[in-house]
Symmetry: C2
Subunit: 137 residues, 2 copies
Amino acid sequence: MLMRIGQVAKRAGVNVETIRFYERKGLISQPLRTSGGYREYPHEAIARIRFIKRAQELGFSLTEITELLSWQTDPRATCADVKQKAEAKISTIHGRIKDLQKMKRSLEQLAAACKGSGPLNDCPIIDCFETQKEKED
Amino acid sequence: MLMRIGQVAKRAGVNVETIRFYERKGLISQPLRTSGGYREYPHEAIARIRFIKRAQELGFSLTEITELLSWQTDPRATCADVKQKAEAKISTIHGRIKDLQKMKRSLEQLAAACKGSGPLNDCPIIDCFETQKEKED
DNA sequence: ATACACTCCGTACCATGGTACGGAGTCAAG
DNA sequence: CTTGACTCCGTACCATGGTACGGAGTGTAT
């Protein structure tokens, strides 16, 4: 029933080093040890690592995941806490998407204006980077 | 006409340390020195730092900007090189946007499914993180 | 009994884009 | 001629999310 770190890593799809890293960071609690000093994990450890990975895929940082995990076992934590966190994350992601879309639009305009042949003298892309927008000091 | 590092930093809107950092990284060439050992910059140095900043705003990394800058003064570099780089960047940004949109959609679905009250027992967000997707080893 | 796989630990290292520190030297004004 | 602002340099440090290393101990199979 109990597993050693290598098997947990394999079944959770991460490196052994990553598990130790999560333990150091407090995302995974210190497991019991065998008489020989080996870490012994219950089956739930795999679920916990998967929890971390899925939350990461949804854009949460390890620091935020630490908070989510602490709520998971805190009887005072409410659905509202989690929902609020999710909504804050949605809004952060939204902002990031907007930024990237702006970048993309600018680049697309520049690329469209660039005929794509000849030397750089009049390349609109390079021109854009070179344009002076200096404020006098 | 020539400026010292502090003035360049001020006029370009970056820290002195950032200019030294760019110099170490090869984004800015080693400037001439005064007899006292101070760096002396021509006016174009400001333009070069602004070039870096604008390219960064459009999503280019310092490594990529180094390449763009080297092209800027290379007579063999063509518009096509730059355009190709811009289009590659557009496509990278596009991919990143898609990823973020996927994250956002998933989070929105979870947040919508979460009534936002009561304890965590049945919170669909936490449930999602907890869901087992184990492959048998 | 010995080879081999696994695990232990601390620490260093990777990329990214800087920021901070501290002791020394330079330069201009008062 | 001293004060204060600026600059010099190398190095360490920040966050982020891990990965790699190396020497030692453990556990198991043959």
